[in-house]
Amino acid sequence: MKIALAGNPNSGKTTLFNALTGSNQFTGNWPGVTVEKKEGRYKGNKEVVITDLPGIYSLSPYTPEEVVARNYLIGERPDAILNIVDGTNLERNLYLTTQLLELGIPVVVAVNMTDILKKNGDLLYPDKLSRALGCEVVEISALKGAGIQKAADLVIAAATDMKLPEISHPFSKEADRIITDVSDRLTSVPEEQRRFFAVKLLEKDERIGSLLKQTPDVSAEIKKMEEFFDDDTESIITNERYGYISSIIKDCCVHNVKETLKISDKIDRVVTNRFLALPIFAVIMFAVYYVSVTTIGDILTGWTNDTLFGEWIVPGVSAGLQAIGCADWLRGLIADGIVGGVGAVLGFVPQMLVLFLFLAFLESCGYMARVAFIMDRIFRKFGLSGKSFIPMLIGSGCGVPGIMASRTIESDRDRKMTIMTTTFVPCGAKLPIIALIAGAFFGNAGWVAWSAYFVGILAIIGSGIILKKTKMFAGNPAPFVMELPAYHFPAAGSVLRSMWERGWSFMKKAGTIILLSAIVLWFLQGFGWINGQFTMLSGEQLNFSILAKIGGAIAWIFTPLGWTQGGAGWQMAVAAITGLIAKENVVTTFGILFGFAEVAEDGAEIWSALSGAMTAAAAYSFLVFNLLCAPCFAAMGAIRREMNNGKWFWFAIGYQTVLAYVVSLCIYQIGTFVTTGVFGIGTAVAFLLVLLLAFLLLRPQGENDMSKIMAKAKVSG
């Protein structure tokens, strides 16, 4: 038996889905789009498969979510629909309900948040609502777990009995007559579905034809309707639906009149106030990062690195292997290469989980939606929407969930731009590189870390402006419209689940990509040719390793950036490449390459070796290159998935890498010129590149060319 769960965004659909299915869930994508598909088996009866449709406001074909939901409902025809509606916002939620009732599928309406209704003193009459809608209505509270069993029983009963809703929502006489005229002509469609298709045909829905065997021509009816109501058919029908809802709602739900301004609105008065909004936001964010990076996160990360891995696991594994008489090289591979390498990465996990816990809390209590609203007016100036900000905040923990969070952005253009720029924000794994460079070259100055974030933000702003002026991204960000959920204290379960899902996407890469790269790296630096003989190397023979050969072969690419010029040329090139596998690898690689088996997270042991290998300008250029260039493999995989298009993926990666190269080159060349006063070809090239960047930033909007061409076409046409 197949049950579909449908409802508006923020109606508590996910909470209900989790309550119904528990841990019996499987997630994936709907075919062809990056909209998440969630299915699960009902806890009380494993025969019942529940599909969680994306949150939608209507069954029109405008957003991918709407297309996915309605193709499923029409194409797969589930046995019943469980429609969850937010009781505190009944009018708007019933708009979707009136459309679901027309599909010719049994529907049960679950009115959620009834506990809040009671608290507010509002009265809901489910019997009256049930009679008015022509289907079963049940009161639930998904958060408190009340009424869920009853809702499940009712929807299963409805599916078993095939109890179709009686469509009792009349529109005005004129509109109904025209709809009946059209549905009478739809002889190829089963009777119970005719009204749905008739309405969609009248709404000039372009995609409905593909779902019908034969599409009748209804232009005469459309013309008649538009002339009678003096509006376009889609607006007429929307108005008819809301008119019907308004006519029934007064009897079914009585609001407590005393209350004029809800608590949520009072909070919004302060939190989104034009003067206080930004300071409040800054304080909250500072608190979040201070706790998750500096205090609790640091303690947990220190414990994981030093005690859990440093004292227990690595020596334990090593001793264990020795006890069973394992060969030395294999012991080295497992204990130092694999366990040590993967462990260094897992050290970030506690810190990241604390950050994700806070962000999940801010998201589910409703504050994040306000942040998008507050940031919109700033982000709009450089071609991004306020909704781009949330992926970037999450990206400061780990880029993979950050990129995945861009899914909530409806506009394709805005989403692509967000995916391309999110990883410019220094993620948790880039922090050790910052600490290493700051410690080895700048006396641990605090400004290095600040400047890294500043470079990231500048790269986002600059990219926004540059990309907006290209043909691909021409035009302004989509108009900002976003529903703001009421502030509420979130369920612990859903906050923890969200924290875990994001943390897990990071841990997975430690178990897969980083594990593999640790093995490959160990092999590449442990073997090589001595006097033409391929052999295993001892520690001091590193210069003969395969890795040294590869590094030496590609070092020239980075020569203009300064960091492969000194004696340590090939090491720097190798570190940049291993950084592409995972940024956490950079410091570890340095440790191995400079002859230390294990280094602290900030690489304190190799500071002196490193500072001898390159100049400060070169070091800063190395840092910036690693901050901006293509992110790690895992994040690249996320970009590939979210772009859902090979060409766009390569464009994004290429753009990031070229930008990183150009900016690092300018920093090194101009930095060297300022500190030493030597002017060479490189300096000239750097100044030319700066001019080019300035041109790209300041040139007039690209769309002007387009509008000129369009205007010309009009004149000549």
């Binding site: 029109s60 708007r92 609105d265 989104t272 106030n273």
Partner: protein, 69 residues
């Protein structure tokens, strides 16, 4: 007058939803229909948070200008 000029905290009746195509339809779907009531809760740099059909919706200036009250 356009919604952008409405006073904060005052309830207004929507006279007309302007704009074309998708923008207009999206607003209507969210409950901005002629004859419905709407109240501005907060305004920040031209962007508005409004209460419509019992839900809070944040809208940008471009869209708010198309709603006449």
């Amino acid at each position: 007058m356009p919604l952008t000029m409405a006073k904060t905290g005052e309830s207004n009746i929507i006279k007309k939803v302007g704009g074309r195509g998708e923008t207009k339809r999206f607003l209507e779907k969210l409950g901005f229909v002629t004859g419905g009531s709407v109240m501005v809760i907060s305004a920040a740099g031209g962007n508005l948070i409004v209460n419509v059909k019992d839900s809070r919706v944040a809208i940008g200036t471009e869209m708010a200008r198309k709603i006449l009250v």
